[in-house]
Symmetry: C3
Subunit: 153 residues, 3 copies
């Protein structure tokens, strides 16, 4: 099954690949590896802002991380032409805007991690780091970047 068919089966519609908010590019491919810039969470076109443990409930944080994951997929599709070229999701880096006493970054980051497993199966199982940060660009609740192994065109 193609990844597009799998996305349809899951009822997932990818967002429009967002333009970088500054002087860089969304994806660089080198040596069979795609490096995806840190993606912010857009849900219904609006940025999910705020801080876990303060003004963003857990379920909204998980949804925000999933939205970052969807934007990673959208950027990969735009850069590669097809998500069928994804060989393996190698690593996700999850940054969670957190109050000083919020320790649930792994649960939040799962929003992105479980998306990758849902979409790519075994090839979606990745290494990961998840950390708390005090604040993110534009006040976003979560930011996720990715390293993805790809097949030749």
């Amino acid at each position: 099954m193609s990844i597009d068919a799998r996305l349809a089966e899951l009822g997932i519609e990818l967002p429009v690949a967002a333009a970088p908010v500054a002087a860089y590019v969304p994806v660089v491919v080198h040596g069979g590896v795609a490096y995806v810039s840190g993606q912010l969470p857009f849900v219904d076109g609006a940025l999910v802002k705020g801080r876990l443990g303060e003004n963003v409930p857990m379920e909204d944080g998980v949804a925000a991380a999933r939205a970052c994951g969807l934007m990673i997929l959208a950027q990969l599709k735009a850069a590669l032409g097809s998500l069928d070229r994804v060989e393996r999701v190698v690593k996700l880096g999850a940054f969670v805007s957190s109050s000083a006493d919020f320790e649930g970054q792994p649960k939040i980051a799962n929003g992105a991690s479980e998306l990758m497993a849902d979409v790519f199966g075994e090839a979606g199982k990745h290494a990961r780091s998840a950390v708390g940060v005090p604040v993110l660009p534009l006040g976003a609740a979560v930011e996720v970047d990715a390293i993805v192994a790809i097949r030749a065109d």
Copy 2:
């Protein structure tokens, strides 16, 4: 000398490789490079919690970073079969739970860095980033991830 022999010489016993606290895997190998997920510090089986500059003394922070490094080794051994397959420790990423005025992240991260040099010699000399964060998963004091070049099986 094998790395196992070197560990014995150093009096180091690796911890049991911890299960990921969420939906990801500890190590992904692609293209001769192992990406190790962010590891938390377990000392005598207990997570080292707290924040440098607040309620974790320097020496405990250094020991915590070393414990993260030991867990990286344990994860690599579990994934690769043998640490003799390590060709080069390429990069460590150290996240140190820090009060707003704690600026000693490099000294803390050395706990992991010096371990790599002790165990692997020249092959243990790596690039590194060390930053302060307000909070880490489960309240951990330190988290370290790694990129490691490996030899074919």
Copy 3:
């Protein structure tokens, strides 16, 4: 045009490559990729300290990020012999010391990103993550690390 000539044309003089502040090395090259350790911002030999949104104005923050970028170039030149070996700047990781309400990390990180585009043209266009952190080593305002694809000697 060589990169040295391009630097001269831009009126850029690289700083002396700073020694690591701890037990690691500035650059590791493996498999055609250079991993550059997190670099701190030195302007006229002095570390730019402080926190964006608190006691570091925007323009000083941008200059600090550019200074991190210059130090990345200095480290690459010292490690590679010549910046002409740079094939592509693949990824920058920007950590911006930020007050809890400072959301302008992308503008700050542009100080490093625009430098790469100025110096390397198309080859300088990179993927990027930019996040806020509460504090950095030695109280630095910005830290930037890099992944750079290089040509054989």
